[in-house]
C-alpha cells in the first residue's frame, strides 16, 4: 500500500531538511513549535458553525527549499513567508513515497493512496478521490466540488474508476486551456496554451458544449473570458481567474487548484523557474485574500497549500539539480504543507514526519465524510 520503505539515510536527510525548514521559518517569522499538548493557541480563531469550505492548492510542479524556505530562497516567496505562514500551521516534513510524476502524484494526493498508473496516460485514479467520498457521503452535487487544473493530462483526476465510486460522483473539472482551445477565431492568448513542461504533447481539445455550459454556469461571457485571457501572463493566472469566478458564482464547498507554472524548471532556465515560484507565491496570497474577503468563505474556509513533490538536489550525481525530479532522492520526496483556517493554530511548525497521503483523511474529517480506501492518517494537529 505504501510506496517505498525508507532507509536510515533517507530518514536522516528528511529530518535534517525538516529541521532546516523550521530554523528558516524561526529566523524569518519567529514561528513556534506546534504540539498537541498546547491548549489554545494565543491567536486562535473561533470555529465557524457554518458548513466548512475547503480549498486545496498544489504548489506545483515541484519546488525546492533552496528556492523557497531556505534563506536564499525566501526572496521568491515573500507572501508565503510574510503573510500566510504567520497565520498557518506549517508541516516541515511531508514525505511522498510514490511516483514523482505530476499527474500521478497529484492524483495520489487526491485519493490518499499511492497511485501506480503511467503518468502520461489519460486514465482515472484506481482509488476513490476525496471529491467522491465527499459527494457520496454528504450527497453533494457536482457543482459543489471543483477541480481547476492547467494541464490537459489532469482531465481524469476528478473521478476514479473504482467500482464503488466513480460513475458521476466526481468533481467538476475545468481545464482553462481547453476552454481557450474551444474558442473560435481569437488569438492573443496563445501564451497560455502550453501544456506540461515534462512533455510538449497536447491532447485533443474538449468540445464546445462544456465551454458554453461552463460560461453559462459562471455567468461569464466568452468575449470577456478571452479578453481577460489576453492580459494574463501564465496558465496559472488563468486558473486563478477561473477560480475567482467559481468562488463568486458557485461558492463550492470543496475546490482543488493545481498550479503548474513552476514546472518550467524542466526547460533548465533557473531564472524562469524562480520567476514562476514568485508568481505562484502571489497567486496563493491572492487566493487567501479572496477567501478572507468573500462572505461565503470568510472565517469559514480551510486553505491547504502543498507541493506535489520537490526537485532533485544539487549534489545528486544522477540528476541535474533543480531541473528535474528524476532521482527520487530524499530531497525530491520531502516537502511541506501549510494549513490555514478556523481553529487552526497560527504561526506554528510541526516537525514530526507525516505523509502526503495524510491529506485526504484530514480533509475527510473536516468535511465529515469517510475515506474508506485512503491510506494515511488525519493530521492530529488540525482535526
Amino acid at each position: 500500500m505504501n510506496g517505498i520503505s525508507l532507509n536510515s539515510d533517507f530518514l536522516l536527510t528528511a529530518q535534517s531538511r525538516a529541521l532546516s525548514r523550521r530554523q528558516f521559518l524561526r529566523d524569518a517569522v519567529s514561528t513556534g513549535l506546534g504540539s498537541r499538548l498546547l491548549g489554545v493557541s494565543p491567536s486562535a480563531v473561533p470555529v465557524s458553525r457554518k458548513e466548512p469550505k475547503i480549498i486545496v492548492v498544489t504548489f506545483g510542479g515541484g519546488a525546492r527549499d533552496e528556492e523557497t524556505f531556505a534563506v536564499e530562497g525566501q526572496q521568491f516567496i515573500p507572501n508565503l513567508i510574510g503573510e500566510l505562514i504567520p497565520q498557518a500551521t506549517f508541516y516541515t516534513q511531508v514525505i511522498n513515497r510514490g511516483i514523482l510524476g505530476h499527474y500521478v502524484a497529484t492524483a495520489s494526493l487526491a485519493t490518499g493512496c499511492y497511485e501506480s498508473f503511467n503518468n502520461f496516460a489519460p486514465v482515472s485514479p484506481a482509488n476513490p478521490t476525496i471529491f467522491e467520498y465527499y459527494r457520496r457521503d454528504r450527497r453533494r452535487p457536482a457543482s459543489d466540488v471543483w477541480v481547476i487544473a492547467p494541464s490537459n493530462g489532469f482531465n481524469h483526476i476528478g473521478e476514479s474508476g473504482h467500482r464503488l465510486y466513480g460513475r458521476g460522483l466526481g468533481a467538476s473539472i475545468v481545464l482553462p486551456k481547453q476552454l481557450l482551445d474551444g474558442v473560435r477565431g481569437d488569438s492573443g492568448y496563445q501564451h497560455l496554451l502550453h501544456d506540461s513542461y515534462e512533455s510538449s504533447l497536447q491532447l485533443p481539445g474538449n468540445d464546445e458544449v462544456s465551454l458554453h455550459a461552463l460560461t453559462e454556469m459562471l455567468q461569464l461571457s466568452l468575449s470577456d473570458f478571452t479578453a481577460r485571457a489576453r492580459t494574463l501572463g501564465s496558465p496559472d493566472e488563468l486558473s486563478f481567474y477561473i477560480a475567482q469566478h467559481v468562488m463568486a458564482k458557485l461558492a463550492p464547498n470543496l475546490m482543488w487548484i493545481t498550479l503548474h507554472d513552476i514546472d518550467i524548471a524542466h526547460a533548465g532556465a533557473f531564472s524562469l523557474y524562480t520567476d514562476a515560484i514568485a508568481n505562484t507565491d502571489r497567486i496563493c496570497a491572492q487566493l487567501w485574500k479572496l477567501i478572507q474577503t468573500d462572505p461565503n468563505y470568510k472565517d469559514n474556509t480551510y486553505f491547504f497549500i502543498l507541493p506535489d513533490f520537490g526537485r532533485d538536489s544539487d549534489t545528486s550525481p544522477g540528476g541535474n539539480g533543480f531541473q528535474h525530479h528524476r532521482t527520487g532522492d530524499a530531497l525530491s520526496r520531502t516537502t511541506w504543507l501549510m494549513a490555514l483556517g478556523p481553529g487552526v493554530r497560527q504561526n506554528v511548525t510541526v516537525n514530526r514526519p507525516v505523509e502526503s497521503l495524510d491529506l485526504v483523511p484530514t480533509l475527510a474529517k473536516l468535511l465529515n465524510c469517510t475515506p474508506r480506501f485512503a491510506a494515511g492518517a488525519p493530521l492530529s494537529e488540525l482535526v
Binding site: I99, Q190, H194, G268, A269, S271, D314, T315, G328
Partner: protein, 400 residues
Amino acid sequence: MTVSLSMSSFAKYPSQARALAERNLDLFRTLPPAFLALLLREVKGYDWLFPMEQRELLAQLDVLRSKDGQDLTSVMQQFAATPLSPALRAADVGSDPEGYVEQLTAWLWSVHAIDRFRQAGTAYGEILMKVRDRFPTPKDRWCIVLAGQGSQPRSADLFDKLRPHGTHFISVDTRGASSVALRFLERRAQASPAPYAHWYLEGGRTEDLSTTNASVLSYESLTPMRRLLLQRMERARTSGTVGPEDLRSLMTQMKPSDFEALGVPDERLQHFTLRLLTEGSGTQIFSTTFIQWAARETIRRASPETMVIRYAPRQINRPMNELLGASSPEAVDPEGSLRDAEMGAYYTWLNLLRAPTIDGLRFLVLQEGGTQAIAIAPGCAAGSRSTTGCDLARIQSWMI
C-alpha cells in the same frame, strides 16, 4: 538467472560495438538483466565514445569478468534482486538496450522499486570510481566561465553559491576577458594536445581559435540542426499519435545521418552534440540550458583538462508552440541569462569536483562587462574577498 542472448542480438550495433559485444557474450549472459541493459547501452555506443570512456568501459568489462571482490558480488546481487515484469523477463536485452532501460525505468517507478535500484546504481558507481582511479590523472584542470554577456554590471554580489568556496574579486577589469581566456585555452591545447582534452563551449557566436587541438561547440552554429530537430518534434507533437514517451524514444533514436547540415566537423562530436540536443531537456530552445548541460556532459564523458565556457543571452520565454515551432528568435533576456549562468557555473563546479586531479582544480567565473569574479583554487582562501584592482590574467597568475 542466465540471460538469453546470442550473436544476433548485436546485429544492429555499429561495427566496433558489435565486435566488442560478441567477444563478451559469455560474460553478458551471466549478468543480471537490469544491470546488463545499462551496460549494453554503453557498449552499443562504443564507436562514438570518447577515448577516456572507451578505456574505462574496457576496464569495466575486465573487472566484471574477474568477478573480483565482495563489493562487486554484493552489488550484482542487488541488481539481481530487481523485480522484473514478465515482459521484461522475456525481452531480448541485447537488441534494444535503450528501449529496455526505458521500459525498466517505468516499471520500477510503478512498483515503487526505483529507489532500491538507484541505491544499487550508486553502489556500482563507487566501484566505477576505483576503475577510473587506475588511469592517469591530469596534473590539474582549469575551467573559466564567462557569464552575463549583455547584462548590466551588478553592484550587488554575484555568484552566491560559489563565494563561500573561493576568493571574491570585486574590482575586476573584464574587458577582453574572452580573448584572454581563449588564448589561455590555446596555450594549454598546444602544450598538451591530447584529443578531446580541451574544450570551448560557446552560447552565442564562436570566436576563432588558432589551435585545432581544442573541441569547439557553439550554440549558434548548431542552429540548422536545432531547427530541423524542432521541426520534427513539432510534427510529432501535433500528430496526435505520438505520446511524450514515444517522442523521447523517437529523439534518442536519431542519428547524425538524419540531418543534412550539422555544423560540427568531427564525427564523434556530431554524435555527442546530437545527444546533447535529443537527451537534454530545454537544450533545443534555450542557449543557457544548452551550455550548462553541455558542460555537464563534457565533464562526465570527456574528463577535460581545460574548459572555457561562455554563456550568451537566451531567448525570452514564449509559448511552447512558438518555442518548438522553430521560428526566428525574438528578444533576448540578458538579465535572466545572467541568473541562469550563475546557477550553471555552480553546477559546473560541482560536476568538476567529481573529476580527480593531482594538483587540484582551478575554477574561475566572472561577469562579462561587470567587475566581479570568483576564483577557486588551492591558493585562494575560501570565503575571502579582494578589492585589489586586477584583470583575468592577473587573477589566473594568483591561481597557479
